[in-house]
Symmetry: none
Subunit: 212 residues, 4 copies
DNA sequence: CATGAATGAGATTTCATTCAT
DNA sequence: GATGAATGAAATCTCATTCAT
């Protein structure tokens, strides 16, 4: 719990300029710029600040981009958590998750890739050492898993499915979300399958997988 | 069919030096080097040739890397196709697919990311124009989809499931594969879920999703 | 004499903040920071003041550093002058000079190097023009030479040596001091020659050089 | 002896471009450029090569400059050694040493300053670690001392002086050379003392210091 | 007066690409 | 064909200086 508190301290933007830089990075991520295609000068000009200013708040491009995407995850998971702990059925909330994923597809992909890539180059330039970075990564993951687990628990309580193994339930949720991405990036738009059909089919697949 | 023929001409390495360069690129991809982390000098030194030689066969780094990964897909899909048209039950073959995916996880991820990224920079440096490139991309996709569709058809014939919509079947296969990736990259190794359990659970989820 | 008065006006720190900045610079010089390694932000943070404040009193980094070292020379030569015009034999005073040099070795070296370096860059940033700067330099030199000459005159009066040429006497004094530096930076500490031996040998060398 | 061999390997320029870069650095040193005033672009343009070429041979500006000055010392000490082991009296050779010093005053000063400065910044950028660098430094020093000691031994043999302590003799030589620098940088040119007088006086001071 | 956030000119460094051999 | 030394455009990063508060 105070781990999350630490993340909050780490990533909550202290200044509007930092926020503007995070937004600039995330815009570029949404426009599918890769890490090396994102130039510091692009970030600062989009953020409407001078190039040198970036280095008042961060010590390298690597730090800017990594913190921007971690901030994004943290910020959005927070919003999602509120939605999931609010009103609505298990199924309705599943579609809210898909909405959310649709809005954040690119940063999520990007984060995954960034966190998985050959990191030597990146780690060397981060202010935190590799050990510290792994802890942060683990915290993010634990946080996300916690949100997913609590959500799946409500599905169980609503008798939507019967599977009681927490890990299988969680991974099945992740798989269903990825499955929806498959529609998004492939066929739903070419008319064969409507967006609604894809969503319902995805939901039912998850339920079927977790039942009996 | 002559589309495939064309790909074959395009990607089948004409010279052992080209093959060595493709292998070098794919090794680096497996070691999680990102596109910008792959240096031309690394490729040529790993391939055991001079740096200038790369430009005898390709006109840019972009061309080398893109062709290497497309070659990889083409080559492996070919092998997979033979497996899938050979002996064995639908379920057995599913596990062969997972084997294959496990062996080729990195290049597959990489290819996906590379083909999805902001391509202006890359396209500008490819010898084919964007139009031409999209055709190649579409051919690859159509080829892969064809293999998947024929495989799923055999599952229908063996009465493993009842779903008759080709697109839903295909995407459910892709989803199941991605779902197995979720285990690979997350939990199966930390002891909660064994590799075998993860595979069986994945298979059954796919069958459940496609039944009734 | 009114030249010295002018130096006094120029370098006697008007405000405790200026004094703190001079001290900060001199500390860094003693720690062997080169001119470009001394950052304005280091000076001000060591002096315990804000960065902008430096520019209330000086118009460039160059001016701060140059005035700090000139101030240092002026201040210390003043102290030395009092010692040399006080009680004690010529030989005793020589050892006091060596004491003093030992304490101020780094700033003295630094000043020498700074005043000798390619000065275009530095001059362009000084509030005084090159002409004016040369005058100040000449004043410093004349002042130092005056102190040395008066001291050597007492050696003559005490019949320590016979050389009557003022310039030869003065330069021999400087040479002896440099010679002691040779011991300080080389051998005296490695056990072969003790600090006391080095000092006595240096003194006797000077006397021998100036006799008959 | 094979230590010297190692230095030779390390500093003898392998390519004319490297030699041209060394010359460019040494020219700038002679023009009194400080380390930070020497820009890589100046070095390469003076050497008549492209900026990137510098990084084919060296991995940082620090390495270029440090190797240039070490090369210079090594090269010149070599020449000097030949002179000192050739024909001529002890006194004649002393004036040859002064000639040599006059020609190489700037690089010698510079080297001294460079090797004495706060080196953190510089060491971090050298390809050799601090340990290795200290060994090279020690080799240079041992080499120079060896040349000096052999020369002073001949003075003893020619009965120019009586002092038998090797370290005192060596340091007295160094002091005499520095003493001549005092004339060079101060008074000899303003007409009071001729260049010849300064040299003779310096020689006699050294002999007097080392006699009886 | 005092401050420190903001700036951008200018430095170092990288690496895809060329081309003489 | 094959090579790798040479290149320079373009990137990251530093830090003296300004100026609104």
């Amino acid at each position: 719990m105070n781990q999350i508190k630490e993340m909050e301290d780490l990533f909550y933007p202290k200044s509007p300029k930092v926020k503007a830089m995070y937004d600039a990075v995330l815009d570029m991520v949404n426009e599918r710029y890769s890490f090396s295609q994102i130039k510091v000068s692009d970030i600062t000009s989009r953020a409407g600040i001078g190039k040198g200013t970036a280095y008042e708040y961060f010590s390298s491009k690597e730090e800017i981009v990594v913190k921007a995407v971690l901030y994004n995850i943290y910020y959005n998971m927070h919003r999602m958590e509120r939605v999931l702990s609010g009103e609505g059925s298990f199924e309705e909330k599943f579609y809210r998750i898909l909405d959310f994923m649709e809005d954040n597809m690119e940063p999520l992909r990007y984060t995954t890739e960034l966190l998985r890539g050959k990191c030597e180059t990146i780690h060397k330039k981060l202010p935190m050492d590799e050990e510290r970075f792994k802890i942060v990564q683990a915290q993010v993951k634990a946080y996300v898993n916690g949100v997913a687990d609590r959500y799946m628990e409500t599905g169980m309580q609503e008798s939507c499915f019967t599977q009681s193994n927490v890990i299988l339930r969680r991974n099945t949720l992740y798989t269903a979300i990825l499955g929806y991405f498959v529609y998004l990036t492939n066929d739903y738009y070419d008319g064969d399958i409507s967006r609604e059909e894809a969503r319902r089919f995805t939901y039912q697949g998850m339920i079927a997988t977790l039942s009996k």
